[in-house]
Amino acid sequence: MTKVKTLEIRNLHVSVEDKEILKGIDLTVNENEVHALMGPNGNGKSTLLAAIMGNPKYTVTEGTITYDGKDVLSMPVNERSVAGLFLAMQYPQEIPGVTNSDFLRAAMNVRSEQPVSLFRFIKAMESTINELQMKEDLAHRFLNEGFSGGEKKRNEIVQMKMLKPSLSMLDEIDSGLDVDAIRLVGDAINALREETGMSVIVVSHYERFLELIKPQFTHVLIDGRIAMSGGPELAEKIDSEGYDWIYKELDIRPAAQAESQQRRVTSIGTCAVRETVKAAGK
């Protein structure tokens, strides 16, 4: 019987380049739970996941994150990973010169006392590649280099399957995937959950993906705060009705709207100048 691992976030404030994105988040994720983060773009979903993983671009200005009783914020990124946290990124990096297999073996070796035997590694890699229907030469290709958007996303899941984290965060893992690939990825996540009791925090705009991995909890992030929490019915309601009813009910506005209005004004101005210059040139 393994100990229950819990992620606890209290009053989390996070800034990017002095702009406060998260304005006090409280969230508890227990083992075996699946939480969906919803909310309009630009309201802090990805920021929350990045802050938990420790992306150096995001500064935590206030609050705490603990996992399994340990202070996550004091750990460097690699230690957070070894502690069991995993982030499937929205935009996975390309690393030329480093093969997928060298990378993954190194990542597996840091979390075991003895180095993983080559034979066991190859077996595990082959079956995972099959499961996610990746090309057979994946192991020898450079990490994400020249991969299509969908391949990159599936490669994140390959890594997740190999590293077996206890808490996975999936940042729009389903975007860029076709219907069949979404099913493959969903099945792979469910299989790993069954095997290890992994908990999941998922950011997704697609009901189809959420239907597959069945979150028990839904949280709606608006302007850096969790505006509303509920069960799966909340995700369904948002899927059919959008967010407007929440803004009305709580009398709040999302962060992105004000910004995009400003941007639009700028772009018209630029276009107007361009038109004027063009006209003057004639």
């Binding site: 150096p56 995993f86 990124m89 996975p92 990096q93 030329p96 840091v110 979390r111 590293l163």
Partner: protein
């Protein structure tokens, strides 16, 4: 491995051969190749060496100079390639000692080609001046440098491709890349193309920079320590140099040597 201790004129045999330079005196070495020759030269110890190579008509010569000397070395080199000859010269420089190298490659006959390339793990002074000159039509020259510059390293590369008048349809290309992991390292790369003929193709690409922060974050998010990331990236950057010689066993040996060296130096 054949030792080279005295001034020697080496007639390269077909296929694979290997030599070891271990000398504390000035040396003059000449290599002549007339078939398909794969040559590995380990530099265990050297002071000042003058190296000349001659690649005959239709010959295909590849030489990898692997510098493991613990003391500073100086090289003066000239390489001649005759009509339709193909020369590949490669330098593996992962040793923690200074190197000064001047190399001058002449593409003498029509359709001669040369690739001069280096892979350096720089923890001391590495100073290269590389010239490749197209003297004849349809010749093709390329300079390719990859370097990882560590804390104590200073890298200077002068890469010069020259095409003389009358060398029609000649090609001159070069790529030089230096990667560092921390602030404060010093790299200077000067790419030059001197072209006196109109009907040619030439290009150069150059980059000097620190390792990408996003890449580092990505790799660390899978549990790799910063040092492991540095080692993996450096190995990926420098390893292709070992592919110059068509010999799997040698490649494996050099790969292990390089990984060990990178691990050692990157952890300092």
């Amino acid at each position: 491995m054949t030792p080279l201790r005295l001034n020697t004129d080496v007639l390269l045999k077909e296929g694979y051969s290997e030599y070891d330079i271990d000398s504390d005196r000035d040396l003059e070495l000449t290599f002549r190749g007339s078939g398909k020759c794969d040559v590995f030269v380990r530099i265990t110890r050297a002071d000042h060496i003058r190296i000349r190579t001659f690649t005959s008509e239709n010959a295909e010569v590849s030489i990898l100079f692997w510098n493991v000397s613990e003391t500073p070395c100086e090289f003066d080199e000239s390489h001649d390639v005759a009509e339709n000859g193909k020369l590949t010269i490669a330098y593996g420089e992962c040793n923690a000692a200074a190197t000064k190298r001047r190399t001058y490659t002449s593409l003498r006959g029509r359709y001669a080609s040369a690739l001069v390339s280096s892979a350096s793990l720089v923890s001391d002074r590495k100073n290269y001046s590389m010239n490749v000159v197209n003297f004849a039509p349809h010749t093709s020259g390329e300079i390719r440098n990859y370097a990882v510059v560590l804390k104590t390293g200073v890298l200077t590369i002068d890469a010069i491709g020259r095409i003389v008048k009358g060398a029609k349809r000649a090609e001159s290309h070069q790529t030089s890349r230096a990667l560092s992991f921390e602030e404060g390292q010093k790299s200077t790369i000067l790419p030059e193309l001197l072209i006196d003929e109109n009907d040619v193709q030439a290009s150069h690409a150059m980059s000097i920079g620190r390792m990408d922060e996003d890449q580092l974050y990505y790799m660390m998010s899978r549990g790799l320590t910063p040092q492991m990331c540095t080692t993996l990236i450096s190995t990926g950057y420098l390893m292709p140099i070992t592919e110059v010689i068509d010999n799997d066993e040698l490649r494996e040996t050099l790969r292990n040597e390089m990984e060990r060296k990178i691990g050692e130096l990157c952890s300092m």
